[in-house]
Symmetry: C2
Subunit: 255 residues, 2 copies
C-alpha cells in the first residue's frame, strides 16, 4: 500500500506540476485512493486542482511545525483524490529547515502516519535541489523525472541523476527511478525528435514508454482549476496522462 512517487527536476517549467496533477487525477479515476502532496511554495498543484486555502494549514505546518498531515489533507472535487496543499508560507521553509535535526526526514516522517490510507502518494517538487526536494526524495519510493523536449532540459539531467544516486546511497536506500517522462513533445519540430533520440541513446533503460505531447489544452486546464480529464477528456493531453497512469499501475504490480 501507499507507493510514494515524487515528480522532480531542478530545471524549471518542464511539466512537473502538470504531471503531478494529471497523473494523480488519472490514477484516482482507476478507483485508486490518491494523495497529491504539493511541496512547492508556488502552490501550482494546489491551484491546478482548484483548491483555495483560506487560512487553513498547509504542508508548511507539518514540515517546519509538528502538525499531523491528517489535519492538513483536504478533499478535492474528485472522490478518490485528496491533496496536501501548499502556499508561499513554504518559501521560508528551506532556510528554517537548515538548522533542524533530521531535516531531510521531516516529510518522510509526516507521510508515514498516513501512507497506508492511500494506494499512491504523488509529490510535486519545486524547481531546485534544495531541502524541499531533498525531503521528497527521501520520502519517495521512486522518482519520475519530467524531461521537456528542449536542449536546456537535457543538460541538467546528468546532475539530477547523480543527486538521486547520492540520496539512494545515503538517505533513502529504497529510492528507485520510476522513469524519465518526455514532456511537451512536438512532433512537428526537429528539436523534439533530436532530444528524444538523445534521451533514448543515453537513458534508454529508464525512459518511460508514455510520451506527453505538447497540447495547449493542458496549459488551459489550470486556469479552470481542473485536471485535464475533467477539462477536456478528448484531448491528446488527457489520453497521454491516462496512458501514463496505466504504465505506472503496471510497473507497481510488477515490482
Amino acid at each position: 500500500m501507499g507507493k510514494i512517487i515524487c515528480i522532480a527536476n531542478q530545471k524549471g517549467g518542464v511539466g512537473k506540476t502538470t504531471t503531478a496533477v494529471n497523473l494523480a487525477a488519472s490514477l484516482s479515476i482507476a478507483d485508486l485512493k490518491i494523495l497529491l502532496v504539493d511541496s512547492d511554495p508556488q502552490g501550482n498543484a494546489t491551484s491546478g486542482m482548484g483548491i483555495s486555502i483560506n487560512g487553513s494549514p498547509t504542508i508548511y505546518s507539518s514540515l517546519v511545525g509538528d502538525e499531523p498531515l491528517s489535519n492538513i489533507i483536504m478533499d478535492t472535487e474528485l472522490d478518490n483524490l485528496f491533496i496536501c496543499p501548499s502556499n508561499m508560507d513554504l518559501s521560508g521553509a528551506e532556510i528554517e529547515l537548515v538548522g533542524m535535526e533530521k531535516r531531510e526526514f521531516r516529510l518522510k516522517n509526516s507521510i508515514s502516519f498516513v501512507k497506508n490510507n492511500y494506494d499512491f502518494i504523488i509529490i510535486d517538487c519545486p524547481p531546485s535541489l534544495g531541502l524541499l526536494t531533498l525531503n521528497s526524495l527521501v520520502a519517495a519510493d521512486s522518482i519520475i523525472i519530467p524531461l521537456q523536449s528542449e536542449y536546456y532540459a537535457l543538460e541538467g539531467l546528468g546532475h539530477l541523476l547523480k543527486t538521486v544516486q547520492l540520496v539512494k546511497n545515503s538517505l533513502n536506500r529504497n529510492l528507485s527511478i520510476e522513469g524519465i517522462l518526455l514532456t511537451m513533445f512536438d512532433s512537428r519540430t526537429a528539436l523534439s525528435s533530436d532530444i528524444y533520440d538523445e534521451a533514448k541513446k543515453h537513458f534508454c533503460n529508464i525512459l518511460l514508454k508514455t510520451v506527453i505531447p505538447r497540447n495547449v489544452r493542458l496549459s488551459e486546464a489550470p486556469s479552470y482549476g481542473k485536471p485535464i480529464i475533467f477539462y477536456d477528456n478528448t484531448s491528446k493531453g488527457a489520453h497521454a496522462y491516462l496512458d501514463l497512469a496505466k504504465e505506472i499501475i503496471f510497473n507497481a504490480k510488477k515490482s
Copy 2:
C-alpha cells in the same frame, strides 16, 4: 555607466535565461560593452553562450569565497560581450551563504569593482527566491520579469512583485522595475491573448512594449551555444530581442 539589470522570476521555465543571453548579445552588437552574470547553478546562460568552464573559477568563488570577479570574467565569441560563468558548484551556495555576514550583499560587492567597465550588466537568476536571487535583486538597478503567456506564470507574479517591493524598502532603495516582458507569446492560442489581456489590465504601467513570440529557433540556438542573432538573425525571435534591446537602451537614456 554600468546599469545592472537582473532577469528574475521564481516560476520555472518562463524564459529568464533565453532573455538574459539574447538581450545581452543584442545590446553588445549596439557597440555597448556588456557583462552577462550567470547566477543560476544550472549554468544555462554559460552553456547558452557556448562557454566551457574546464576548471576555471566560477561565480561561486566570488560569492562564497573572496575571488575578485575580474579573475572569473571570461571572453565570449562576441567582441563586446563578457561572461561571469556558473556551474553546479553554486548549488551549495545558498546553504553556505545562510550563516555569512551581509549575505545578501555578496554579489553587489563583487560587481562594484567591475561595474564601471561595462555599459550594462545582465544577471540571469535561478527559478527561486532564495539567497542567490536575493543577491541579484540587491545588486541590481532594475529587474526584468519574464512572464510566460501561461496561467501558472501569471499566478506567481503578485508574490514576486511583493518581494521586489520588500527588497526596495529594506536592502536596495535603488531597485526599480524595468518591466514585465511577455514571453513565448503564441498568437494562435486564446490562452496567450487572455494572459496578455490580464497582464495589461493589472500591470499596464510596467508591461514592456516588446513581446517575445514563441519561436522554435530560440530553443534550437542553445544547442549550438549561440545567441539567436548569431544562430538565425532572420527569425522572429532575433527581431524581438533586438527590439527589446532598443527599448532597454531608450529607457536607460530617459532616466
